[in-house]
């Protein structure tokens, strides 16, 4: 059974969104993914990190942590912030809902994560932060 793990930390600056998704994609590349699988992971990570920046920390610059774990053919990505947390998780996860209509957001972040990954779990404590745990199973090429 193949096992591997990384942990990265970066400031909640929007410039780091591309760094975060490329770093996770590079780590996942050892699973011999298809281009479509790697794009799925990049898109889901981008959504989770954007949420942490816009909603978790609002305009503050704090650290975001990403852990990525490979276990066999399964990739787990955990995106953590210690920001303000989500008021109403059920509402937040509804397609097209956005708590910030002023920002021209589509409200599709969680829907993208759910669709492009195989599982999504969100843990949030008001005032303490949010953890997004996403998993994807890669189909071996052979």
């Amino acid at each position: 059974m193949c096992y591997n793990k990384i942990k990265i930390e970066f400031l909640s600056k929007s410039q780091n969104e591309s760094f975060a998704r490329v770093a996770v994609a590079a780590f996942a590349s050892q699973l011999d993914p298809t281009i479509e699988e790697i794009t799925d992971v990049k898109t889901a990570v981008s959504e989770a990190v954007t949420n942490a920046i816009i909603h978790g920390y609002e305009s503050d610059e704090e650290m975001i942590t990403i852990e990525a774990i490979i276990n066999g053919t399964e990739l787990t990505v955990i995106v953590n912030d210690v920001g303000k947390g989500i008021d109403n998780l059920e509402l937040a996860m509804q397609p097209l809902y956005t708590s910030r209509p002023d920002l021209e957001r589509s409200g599709m972040g969680f829907t993208v994560m759910e669709t492009f990954m195989d599982s999504l779990e969100v843990k949030s404590d008001k005032g303490r932060g949010t953890s997004i745990i996403m998993k994807k199973i890669f189909n071996p090429l052979s």
Partner: protein, 111 residues
């Protein structure tokens, strides 16, 4: 993200190149809106041929321009969308209100 503009009569064409995410979206939105206002265009063609990555921020950018132009009787369409970008757009049901064309020529002839 790099933007290049062209016009065809009353239509503004924007060629986008690079990654469209939350970070680049704000700049893209401002530059396109400036251009729309400056020359009072009502029709916008957004070309995605060289967009190498897009997350849901791209939906907000397109729908935002649609709302703006729709209010004054204008139109927005998108062209040259590759499958990875299309999958993100399709989740939002955006194509119910925004036309998709294979290339610029088709878009110019149809909107």
């Amino acid at each position: 993200m790099h933007l290049n503009f062209e016009n065809s009569e009353d239509k503004l064409i924007v060629y986008m190149a690079g990654e469209l995410d939350h970070h680049s979206a704000e700049e893209v939105r401002n530059i396109i809106d400036d251009r729309l206002e400056r020359d009072s265009y009502n029709k916008l063609i957004m070309d995605f041929e060289n967009v190498t990555f897009m997350d849901s921020s791209g939906i907000g950018v397109v729908i935002g321009r649609y709302k703006k132009l729709h209010m004054r009787g204008g139109k927005v369409c998108v062209t040259n969308i590759k499958s990875s970008v299309k999958r993100v757009f399709e989740l939002s049901g955006m194509f119910k209100i925004i036309m998709l064309y294979d290339d610029i020529e088709q878009a110019v002839n149809n909107i």
